[in-house]
Amino acid sequence: MPDLLIELFSEEIPARMQRRAAEDLQKLMTNGLVEAGLTYASAACFSTPRRLALAVEGMLDASPRQVEERKGPKADAPEKAIEGFLRGAGLTRDQLEERETPKGKILFAKIEKPGRPAAEIVAEVLEHTIRNFPWPKSMRWGTGSLKWVRPLHSIVCVMSAEDGVEVVPFELDGITAGDVTYGHRFLAPAVIKVSGFEDYEAKLKRAFVVLNACERAGTIWHDATNMAFAAGMEVVEDEGLLKEVSGLVEWPVVLMGPIGADFLELPAEVLQTSMREHQKFFSVRNTKTGRIEKFITVANRTTADEGATILAGNEKVLGARLSDAKFFWENDLRVATSDEGMATWVKALENVTFHNKLGTQAELIERMAVLARELAPMVGADPDEAKEAARLAKADLSSEMVYEFPELQGLMGSYYARAAGKSDAVADAAREHYAPLGPSDDVPTAPVSVAVALAEKIDKLTGFWAIDEKPTGSKDPFALRRAALGVIRILVENRVALSLDQHLDSELLKYELTQLRPTAPEPDLFTLESTLAEIADHGVFGAAFRTVVDRIKHSDTHPFVPDVSDGSLLQTVAVRVQAKSADLLSFLHDRLKVYLKDQGVRHDIIDACIAMPGNDDLTLLVKRAKALSETLKTDDGENLIQGFKRANNILTQAEEADGVEYSYGADVKFAEVDEERALFKALDEAEATITPAMEAQDFTTAMSAMASLRGPIDGFFDAVQVNSDNGTIRRNRLNLLSRIRTICTSVADLTKIDG
């Protein structure tokens, strides 16, 4: 059972690709080996900046012999057919076997595939692997045509067993596999001869190469935290940076240095971002002052001066980088605190396109400002403050710092707004209005931030809906799913009661109007502008539109009658606005399902709540869903559903058969048995609780009152036959069932619940 060692030695592989590449090497090689019949006991892969390595243990030394039986033509088939079969099987006529079958004598061929030595298979699979390697980007070099991530220089491919070591004979575009590799580029560049994985790993380590990336990361983190601790400080955690840095070195040596006093006043985020992005430095925080005061860099080597030259060089580079950052910071502050202030930046955004169908960033900001003002009262924010905050929230996109570090957008805006003397609420909104950026990101809670964050996302969603750029399948280039989840989380987690319909309709109509204004006839424009002005009074576009059209029709002051006939402009716009709004709301509902599912609320429960009126108030919707979900977790709740469904089925069937709706009040005087009277009583009692609870939107109380009906409903069904021969009694019982239905569907449409 030999072991196999493969190393592909190249010029420096990008850090971000190494881990994945090692895994791909393992996957492609082991898949290929197994497919060819070479099974093995275990495999492991490794990467450093200059090499990918694979160790396979306990591999078969040859693939097993295989016998394949092939069915051929009939024994008396035409000569040509038999010849063809023989050719395909590589056999002669006398090697075939004739077998009696129900269909007559048939020829069978036994094709023996002898086992192949492992080395032959390994060479074949390795060539295929290298030629088809899934690098994110690969290149050619020199005069060759081979592609690799960077020039490939040498290949180790050895099989080792008790009886010795064998170099797998293998050649690829001028590179011959062997048993030699090289150590650290500077510390031990000489040739190393290896006989197997253990020998390889140990010799590499002596040649200043730590093969295992996790081991390198571990060393880095261990040394960094120790070094910081010794100085009374702590390293700011950065998992991504640690991974990257461990892919940049074969022999990590951690060095810590100071940040120049000139730069300590820069915002911590600027220091961190500049150091991470440009220099791959870790930030070190003084636990007492909370400031970032030192940096940690990871060198790829030891030196005679214990890193003094390296550290001094890094310090100098950092100084240069930070003086750039300082230059941006000071320039930006100068603008922000000037007379015109951040408005200068907003003005500059008039030249920046947001999306070619949705106008400039400046236009986007103006839409946001209007919408934030409209939303403000619903979230408890001051409308003027919300509007101002929205106007400034994206101003920093023109600042020099954000130009240099786009990831600091919003954050810089908040520093600059504060420097410009804006209120804390306005400044915070700049930082918070992009949030939440992911499912685990914090949701803004300050009213002004909430208004601006909502405005940003609702504008984005309605805008892209207006131009038919909604997400499809896996494609969501404008991150609209994230925006939708943002709207949901902001509303629900802040318990904001907000009817979305009104705002979705208004925004969509605004987009329509922007398109129509230059060309549409005056009467149509007037009608739509009036509708827009009145949507807030009516709650939705449809009602406002009908009212406006009616009013104009019957008014003497308007010299025209709006054309709302089928196919007319107004009709088309009205249909489109309502259709898109409904579609967007249903998109939001879909995202809400995903959101609630993560919190353990089932899809059918959400569907049952979406079926209720007021479903454009997501907070209300979630309240219903949670109450229903909780109730359904209890036995009473579960059984109530069964009872309700039974009642509903009987009732629905009767209504269909009789062609009437049984909604007339049932009367207890027609009750025949105690169980029936008990149900009347229970319904009365439940109603007494449910009605006020529903008014207070206390769905939990309403649901638990409903759950208390479970016993009386079960008792009723056990005791009586609804479809009594007596017509009066039957009708009364059906009307009683109707009461059950009415009560039970006050929180959610229970017919939609599974089971």
Partner: protein, 347 residues
């Protein structure tokens, strides 16, 4: 340690192929003897570093060219790189190229940002297998002690949207500072590079400041500090940095520039539209370089307009696309010339 003999053998092999047809046998033997000299003295001035690089690459077989006589944003724009990386003819050249980046102007006040600076550029086609070692040797040649510094090859894919070119490689870090760009050209002017050129670009000021231990570019000795008239970078360039920064940011006449851009663009096309055969001499003379000059011009004017802040984000893409179209046309034309590997017999 050193890259000594081993390197020379390898580069000699590569260059042997280049020079064989020119019969430059004697030069090759010279190359070998040159390398026996000791580790160079640590340079004391900006120009000493440039001269060390010139000597190093001359010693390793490159033709030492002079700067291109036009305003360019980077050494890559020199036709010795853009055009010569196209086609199949071998090529090995090194040169200093003054480069202009109007948006980087800081009135000479920033310790290391300049609107006018020098790049050192090396282009070898096909890229030799020991290009990394050759490169490291050049750092040693300018006085970087390989035993004390931390040299790293950090991923940096190069793409020039205006040249329609891209390649893979690294930025080379010395103690955390980017000292060079190292690129294997894959495509230029929309053409696949066969064979592949290896390109090295050194930011000379930054590199020199590092080697000389200078913190502010303006403090850097330009010539030997012990010379009778010692001059610093400030003496040579502080005033021009101020003048150009003011002009680039606030004064350059954008109307004129816009017009010049249009003119250069139109001119480039007109030149290439001319018939390949010159009616006067009867020779096949495709005027790639004159056309390419117009492309360079357009590119620089675009940079100036950008610095003046009159190009919006959307327009930006359009301008870049227009320059790219020009460089692509030039590349298309170049591969139809002798230097681009075109053979009239074959055609």
């Amino acid at each position: 340690m050193g890259y000594g003999a081993e390197i020379v053998t390898m580069v000699q092999l590569t260059l042997a192929r280049h020079t064989r047809r020119k019969g430059a046998q004697d030069q090759r033997s010279k190359l070998m003897s040159d390398n026996t000299e000791n580790r160079p003295q640590k340079p004391k001035s900006f120009q000493a570093i440039i001269l060390a690089l010139q000597n190093y690459w001359a010693r390793h077989g490159c033709a030492i060219l002079q700067p291109y006589d036009m305003e360019v944003g980077a050494g890559t724009f020199h036709p010795a790189t853009t055009l010569r990386s196209l086609g199949t003819n071998p090529w090995a050249a090194a040169y200093v190229q003054p480069s202009r980046r109007p948006t980087d102007g800081r009135y000479g006040e920033n310790p290391n940002r300049l609107q006018h600076y020098y790049q050192y550029q090396v282009l070898i086609k096909p890229s030799p297998p020991n290009l990394q070692e050759l490169y490291l040797g050049s750092l040693e040649a300018i006085g970087i002690n390989m035993d004390l510094h931390d040299i790293r090859f950090v991923e940096d894919d190069w793409e020039s949207p205006t040249l329609g070119a891209w390649g893979l490689g690294w930025e080379v870090w010395c103690d955390g500072m980017e000292v060079s760009q190292f690129t294997y050209f894959q495509q230029v002017g929309g053409h696949d590079c066969h064979p592949v050129s290896g390109e090295l670009t050194y930011g000379l000021e930054r590199l020199a400041m590092y080697v000389l231990g200078v913190d502010h570019v303006m403090d850097m000795p330009f010539n030997d500090p012990d010379a009778p008239i010692p001059m610093t970078y400030r003496d040579v360039f502080k005033q021009t940095e101020e003048e150009y920064a003011r002009w680039n940011f606030d004064v350059a006449n954008t109307e004129v520039l816009l017009r010049q851009f249009e003119e250069a663009e139109a001119h480039c096309k007109v030149i290439l539209d001319e018939a390949p055969v010159d009616p006067k001499t009867g020779k096949r003379i495709i005027m790639v370089h004159p056309a390419y000059d117009q492309c360079i011009k357009a590119s620089h004017i675009f940079n100036l307009l950008d610095a003046r802040g009159v190009i919006s984000v959307t327009e930006r893409q359009a301008y870049i696309g227009r320059v790219r179209a020009l460089s692509k046309m030039c590349a298309d034309a170049f591969v139809l010339t002798r230097a681009g590997g075109y053979s009239e017999d074959a055609a």
